[in-house]
């Protein structure tokens, strides 16, 4: 829409746009600005808090609240588990995602449509549908966590570390993204290698994989952010557990906040809570700021063709 000459309407609209985008942008960033500034306050200053808190002075000790997150109980093991889990899921999801996408894009066999449709069915299932059914299956899983062969007697996979790595090895959405990218690459790239007798797996991972880097980045980002923020899954599946130290960080942060709140009826240490929240929100924002382009590709990739 670069036309060089600005129309009359633009003369009014452009300044208005700046104003609205800047004001709205401030609203978008407000919780981050507020929780950062709020964490610098002392407990006494909090009682005179304003919409935009300004600390009464600046000293190194005032930044201590920002580090409270890392002093929480089990925080390091929890972060470690979250990273391990992300790494594991990144590996299996990318492996199966690229493999499945290749199979559905490049290999023709009877029943392909039916199988693809069967996988896609689950793609659109929101958590509201699957939460309870999968809980029941995992809690009554036979011969696991004290259960007998009929799934009775114990608590199955609930609360066991295994549940953190067992479901969700691949998603139909990834097949769909990879398949689309292979169509977009087009051509007969793999063919010559196949004639040369390279195995199928080798064709996929040495020839296609490097070309699929953008879509792999999209998958990776989704997994990193999703696992860091994951709250409902650990809350449901790890609530009662013998391994409280490995509850993923998305839920552990609430245990840390609860500790800062102290017992009911006492006045919570609000500046500490702001600091914990701010630090917990920071990692996904940093990942996003570093990899913006891939985020936007990822968002538009799965949508309609413009």
């Amino acid at each position: 829409m670069k036309r060089g000459i600005k129309s009359k309407a633009d003369k009014i609209l452009v300044p208005l746009a700046y104003l609205i985008l800047a004001l709205g942008g401030f609203v978008m960033l407000y919780p981050f600005i507020f929780s950062f500034m709020g964490s610098l306050l002392t407990k006494a200053e909090y009682l005179k808090i304003s919409v935009l808190p300004v600390p009464g002075g600046l000293s190194v000790s005032r930044f201590a609240n920002l580090l409270k997150f890392f002093q929480g109980k089990n925080v390091w093991t929890s972060i470690g588990m979250t990273l391990l889990r992300t790494l594991f899921y990144a590996f299996v999801n990318i492996f199966f995602g690229v493999l499945g996408g290749y199979i559905f894009a490049k290999i023709h066999f009877r029943g392909r449509k039916a199988v693809f449709f069967y996988f896609l069915m689950s793609m659109m299932m929101p958590g509201v549908v699957t939460l309870l059914p999968s809980y029941i299956m995992f809690v009554r899983w036979p011969l696991f966590g004290g259960n007998d062969i009929f799934g009775q007697g114990g608590s199955g996979m609930i609360g066991h570390w295994f549940i953190l790595l067992f479901p969700g090895w691949f998603g139909a959405y990834h097949f769909f993204l990879v398949r689309q990218s292979i169509f977009d690459i087009g051509g007969e790239i793999g063919e010559s290698a196949e004639i040369d007798g390279a195995g199928n797996l080798r064709t996929v991972f040495t020839i296609y994989f490097p070309l699929l880097r953008p879509v792999v980045a999209v998958m990776l980002i989704g997994l990193i952010i999703g696992h860091w923020n994951d709250y409902l899954f650990p809350m449901t599946f790890m609530r009662a557990t013998d391994y409280p130290q490995i509850i993923p960080i998305g839920y552990t942060v609430f245990n840390i906040i609860a500790a800062a709140k102290g017992p009911t009826n006492s006045i919570p240490d609000y500046p500490a809570i702001f600091g914990i929240c701010f630090t917990a929100m920071l990692p996904p924002i940093i990942v996003f700021l570093c990899l913006q382009k891939q985020f936007i590709t990822g968002l538009t990739m799965g949508s309609v063709k413009g």
């Binding site: 633009d10 689950s122 699957t130 923020n229 996904p284 538009t300 413009g306």
Partner: protein
């Protein structure tokens, strides 16, 4: 001749490769994703506390009947649809206008896009907790300020209207970034020739918007509405962390959670899940119609 044979054997080899991987994947997927839903359908006709199989009692359609008779449960559906509808309405309208502003010849477009998108990447739960500390009636930030100014505190979380307002506010705040980017993608994909033709015909900005941009965005709009309707059906964190146990803002997801994990009424929880499943299937079929997902 020889090469044709080779290609055919190569193809057979590939098909074997495909099934060799697909069969274990299908088994895993069936167990993890499909079987639980089948169980839920069966359990929705029973009364069960979720522990011993010999205590499962067959009750026919009683759960489904109660779901609409029980005031609290039908209220959850009403709340979900009301708040979900409002969330979608405000997210779509506001995002559309912001995207339009970003399409104007402004500098810092990338910067604004980044800023508006940041809420999308942070944890809904942490943001909800933060908002709760803000509006907490006893010692939250807003009331501390109000009291400091000598005004009466507002019972934000105890008034049904305010409670709904804050839940809708957080969800719109969090959902706009992604929707803006989708609208921007749709707007940039409008063929330039259409605008040029309009320019030649001397249309003004308003006419351009109504007659060129909007019709071209129809498909994208359908996609946005369908995907966000899936999202609002499972809204949970803001309700759990802000509304706590107040019936005035209870939603389906919270109801399922409560029935299953607090009241140990797995039958009713399953019936609610299955009812939402039926809704979701309808929306999904619609989704296949409008998106790029072609089989």
């Amino acid at each position: 001749m020889a090469s044709a044979v080779k290609i055919r054997s190569l193809n057979r080899h590939k098909v074997r490769f495909a099934w060799g991987w697909l069969i274990p994947m299908l088994i895993y997927y069936t167990i993890i994703a499909v079987l639980p839903i089948a169980f839920a359908v069966i359990l929705s006709f029973t009364k069960w506390n979720g522990v011993r199989f010999d205590q499962i009692k067959w009750v026919g359609f009683a759960n489904y009947a109660n779901m609409f008779k029980d005031k609290e449960l039908s209220g959850m559906f009403a709340n979900t649809f009301l708040m979900g509808g409002l969330i979608m309405f405000f997210t779509v309208i506001l995002s559309f206008f912001v995207a339009l502003l970003m399409m104007l010849p402004i500098k810092l477009k990338g910067f604004f896009r980044t800023v508006w998108y940041i809420p999308c990447v942070v944890s809904t739960a942490v943001v909800s907790e933060l908002v709760f500390t803000f509006i907490n009636p006893s010692d939250g930030v807003i009331n501390t300020i109000l009291v400091g100014m000598g005004k009466a505190p507002v019972m934000w979380t105890l008034r049904p209207g305010w409670l709904k307002f804050w839940i809708i506010f957080i969800s719109v705040w969090k959902g706009m970034g992604g929707t803006i980017i989708l609208f921007l993608a749709g707007m940039s994909a409008v063929p330039q020739e259409l605008y040029e033709a309009g320019y030649v015909d001397g249309v003004n900005k308003w006419q351009k918007l109504i007659h060129i941009t909007l019709p071209c965005l129809r498909q994208m709009l359908a996609f946005i509405i369908i995907t966000s309707s899936m999202g609002v059906l499972s809204i949970f964190e803001p309700v759990q962390l802000i509304a706590r146990d107040q019936p005035s803002a209870m939603v389906i997801m919270y109801g399922i959670y409560n029935e299953a994990f607090v009241n140990f009424n797995v039958g009713m929880g399953s019936a609610m899940s299955v009812f939402v499943l039926a809704l979701v299937i309808a929306v999904t079929l619609l989704n296949f119609k409008v998106t790029r997902i072609r089989i």
